[in-house]
């Protein structure tokens, strides 16, 4: 019985099969060198080529070299460094406060039921309100100075950090809780050796969202409520039709975002080196 079925099936299989056929891999494969830069560089090349060929309206989209010239001019005459510094300071303060608040609240709410009852619902409520909608109220409360800008950025930052860290803390594997009991860990050691390291991946997701959020908050605040800073510089340039200055500002925002995100990624890769995922 078996022999006959094999006989009928075998010729077809042999005919189509190639020697040493490999399965197609489903992982994306090896990283291309400098892969992250390839796209932006291509975009830059297209932009430069179009400008050189005179196909772009220079009032709307100035050539890359014009933007570079303007950048250098603004930098050497001192306006740009002062504005960049102001913006960086706002973002850094807002981010630092948001980070601290996010982590402290997540720990308090993730590690105690009382904390969860008091904090979690409140944060969820806060999250439901669009943060930028709080701007008018905050101006009334805190004035139009630096304090209100830092407060808004801090709120934008703390929410994703809180949400992701809290989710990771409360999602600790029950099996590891059991293990800690069996190994006789004290509550402090349980938190330090199991809960916190286990929640770090979630924290880093929140951290990256928070970093992006801090720049987003900054851009909005500086373009509508500022008398200094990068956004103010761009707002002024809009009034005078200086598209090259606007592009310089955008470029610097972009560099800020890219550098800070890369920094967080780098730290993440160091801290979470035990993880083996698709990306490394």
């Amino acid at each position: 019985m078996t022999v006959t079925t094999l006989d009928t099936a075998a010729p077809a299989a042999v005919a189509t099969e190639q020697p040493r056929r490999r399965r197609r891999g489903l992982a994306p494969g090896k990283r291309l060198p400098a892969a992250r830069l390839a796209g932006p560089l291509l975009l830059l090349a297209v932009w430069a080529a179009a400008s050189a060929a005179g196909r772009l309206d220079t009032a709307a989209v100035p050539a890359p070299w014009t933007v570079l010239d303007t950048g250098i001019r603004l930098w050497t005459d001192g306006t740009l460094p002062a504005d960049v510094l102001t913006s960086l300071e706002r973002a850094a303060y807002g981010f630092a406060f948001g980070l601290t608040a996010g982590v402290v609240l997540a720990l308090a709410s993730g590690l105690s039921r009382t904390g969860e009852a008091l904090i979690d619902g409140t944060v969820q409520l806060n999250r439901a309100i669009p943060v930028l909608g709080l701007i008018p109220l905050f101006i009334l409360w805190l004035g139009i100075g630096e304090t209100f800008k830092i407060a808004i950025i801090a709120i934008v930052v703390y929410i994703p950090i809180y949400l992701n860290t809290h989710a990771a803390l409360s999602g600790i594997d029950q099996r590891f809780v059991e293990l800690a009991e069996v190994q006789g860990l004290s509550r402090l050691r349980f938190v330090r050796e199991i809960v916190i390291p286990g929640a770090l991946p979630g924290f880093f997701v929140g951290l990256r969202l928070g970093v992006t959020g801090s720049w987003l908050g900054l851009v909005v605040l500086e373009q509508i409520n500022a008398t200094s800073g990068l956004g103010y510089l761009m707002f002024q340039a809009q009034n005078y039709g200086q598209s090259d200055v606007i592009l310089v500002g955008l470029l610097i925002y972009g560099v800020f975002g890219l550098v800070s995100d890369s920094a967080v990624r780098l730290i993440e890769r160091r801290v979470l080196s035990w993880r083996r995922t698709l990306s490394n």
Partner: protein, 241 residues
């Protein structure tokens, strides 16, 4: 009897009328059991027979379970689970030392289970068998008086399982803890244990002493008799299997 002999024969684990139930369903129904110090006991049963519940009760892991009865167990108890349960963010040596300290003791335990040189490896770099060895090392480091093992080799391939059987028996001979090994594998129980219990509907249905020298072979024909008795107690006859 002289007092010191009494001391020696005092059971390591003593259960009297141990009852546990979930949602009104009785899982353990008044279990009486003594395990003498240093005895290697295997606990057999169908899935759902309550064997894991019994182990968890002895381990003190059943916080929110209703039940009654008397239970005494030694102070130093280690548990080996079916999964190795290594923390992925700690290197192997740090996993072994979870809850204790003394790097030298940890290294010695790893060497004993054949993992010398893998101290700095991450758990994700270990094979299933290696991870379970590391889990054994973690339980050894605490010098347990009682070792509880909940189907510790259930997730391993057949060849690795046989190697782990030798290792476990070897470690037991060197350290002599009392062992309660929960398993659903009759052969595993016969080859490893000196006493096999069959748990049936929350009660101990059979308490069998296996009086054969170690190391035992799966092919030992004299063990076949024990196998038949155990399978009968589990409600399986050879014709069906």
């Amino acid at each position: 009897m002289a007092p010191h002999t009494e001391q020696l024969t005092r059971p390591a684990v003593r259960l009297r009328g141990l009852t546990r139930s979930f949602d009104g369903r009785t899982v353990l129904d008044g279990i009486d059991l003594d395990i003498p110090a240093g005895q290697f006991v295997a606990l057999l049963g169908h899935s759902g027979s309550g064997k894991s519940t019994l182990l968890r009760a002895v381990a003190g892991l059943d916080h929110e379970v209703t039940g009654s009865g008397e239970l005494s167990a030694p102070e130093r108890v280690s548990v080996v689970f079916q999964d190795s349960r290594l923390l992925p963010w700690r290197r192997v040596l740090d996993n072994v030392l979870l809850g204790t300290d003394g790097a030298d003791k940890g290294r010695a335990a790893l060497a004993e289970v054949g993992l010398a040189g893998r101290e700095r490896a991450w758990p994700s770099e270990l094979s299933g068998g290696e991870a379970q060895r590391a889990a054994l090392a973690r339980s050894l480091v605490r010098e347990p008086e009682l070792l509880l093992a909940d189907e510790p080799f259930g997730a391993l391939d057949a060849l690795t399982r046989i190697r782990m059987h030798h290792l476990l028996r070897e470690l037991w001979e060197r350290h002599r803890p009392s062992v309660l090994l929960v398993t659903h594998d009759v052969d595993e129980a016969i080859v490893l244990a000196d006493r096999v219990l069959v748990l049936d509907r929350g009660r101990i249905g059979l308490d069998l002493t296996i009086d054969r020298p170690h190391p035992r072979s799966y092919r030992d024909p004299l063990l076949g008799e024990y196998r038949e008795r155990l399978l009968a107690a589990l409600g399986v006859t050879e014709d069906l299997a």
